[in-house]
Symmetry: C2
């Protein structure tokens, strides 16, 4: 997506630890116009898949998922990272190790909200090592739902997450794949 | 909003500690169709206010804020609850005491993203004692922005938050105000 790549080149800041900071449109301020275009693009890519629900993970996946969901006319379910006393007792859980934060955490989805009749589109903002995504796939598998597609806004193509998932046969579509980046330069895969 | 009230009556679960659990359309699974109607209603209520940005707080405010923002054609800024190493050093901060969780936490907004030329609409899912909202207002005031409106999906009208903010002169609009609730009954204010 050209407009997305332009925004990344214009506003993205590369930080130590393979961090690409895009706070001004994706992770703190949300450019709803651009995110809506992203949602439409996910619809174009996955509209033939019979999607019944979009699965994402808090926090930054939510905005993209709900804007995309309008086009699919399906609900969004977001996995919770923070334990909540309000959550149902019956939950699917999976552990995630975050390289960015150096910690392990558990994500949870109520068993009520995804099940074996669902055809899922999984959406997230970033794909790096793919740890969060593997845990979402783990939860999808536990529920018996079928994962029909994975939509990612920005993939760090120099890390292994995307490669592994494509080799496993997932229909993974990333709207911008960063081939390499440093403080002076961000290069996209064609 | 009648459809919202119907959903609350149909799916809301009242729990100890004044908890109203609406996980199946607002806080875990997101009924994007209904949330879009909510966004449109906020636009109808605040469209004359010259809104330049919508301010909300992670997590559950984000979905409503982005869907509303489409109609206002403005960006969303969400206050962060979790410290992030990626956040700018220059931030507005404010402390929130959560009665639901029994803990105090700090919310943060980068100084880059709201400022004295902004006219803000503040959106959140729930209003109870108003502590989170007071902290958002504190951050708005620190930035010099003008708060032109506050849009709430569900207000617990039997608590003081809404009353105090209206007395302070804020243009606070809640789409459903719960006058009383227990495990058998939820009553709305007319």
């Amino acid at each position: 997506m050209d407009r997305l790549k332009e925004e990344i080149l214009l506003h993205g800041e590369v930080r130590d630890g393979n961090i690409l900071k895009v706070d001004n449109f994706l992770n703190h301020m949300l450019d709803v116009n651009l995110l809506n275009e992203i949602g439409k693009e996910f619809y174009r890519l996955f509209k033939e898949e019979g999607i019944t629900k979009i699965l994402t993970i808090e926090v930054s996946g939510i905005a993209i998922a709900v804007l995309a969901a309008q086009y699919f006319n399906v609900p969004v379910v977001f996995a919770k990272k923070v334990p909540s006393q309000n959550l149902d007792k019956e939950v699917y859980t999976s552990k995630v190790f975050s390289f960015t934060k150096g910690i392990e955490y558990t994500i949870r989805v109520s068993k009520k909200y995804i099940g074996k009749n669902d055809k899922l589109l999984i959406i997230d903002d970033f794909l790096a090592d793919g740890n969060a995504l593997k845990s979402l796939l783990d939860i999808a598998n536990q529920s018996g739902a079928e994962t029909k597609g994975i939509g990612i806004v920005i993939e760090k193509g120099f890390l292994e997450g995307g490669k592994i998932l494509r080799e496993e046969g997932y229909n993974l579509q990333s709207l911008a794949i960063v081939e390499s980046m440093d403080q002076n330069n961000i290069v996209f895969r064609d």
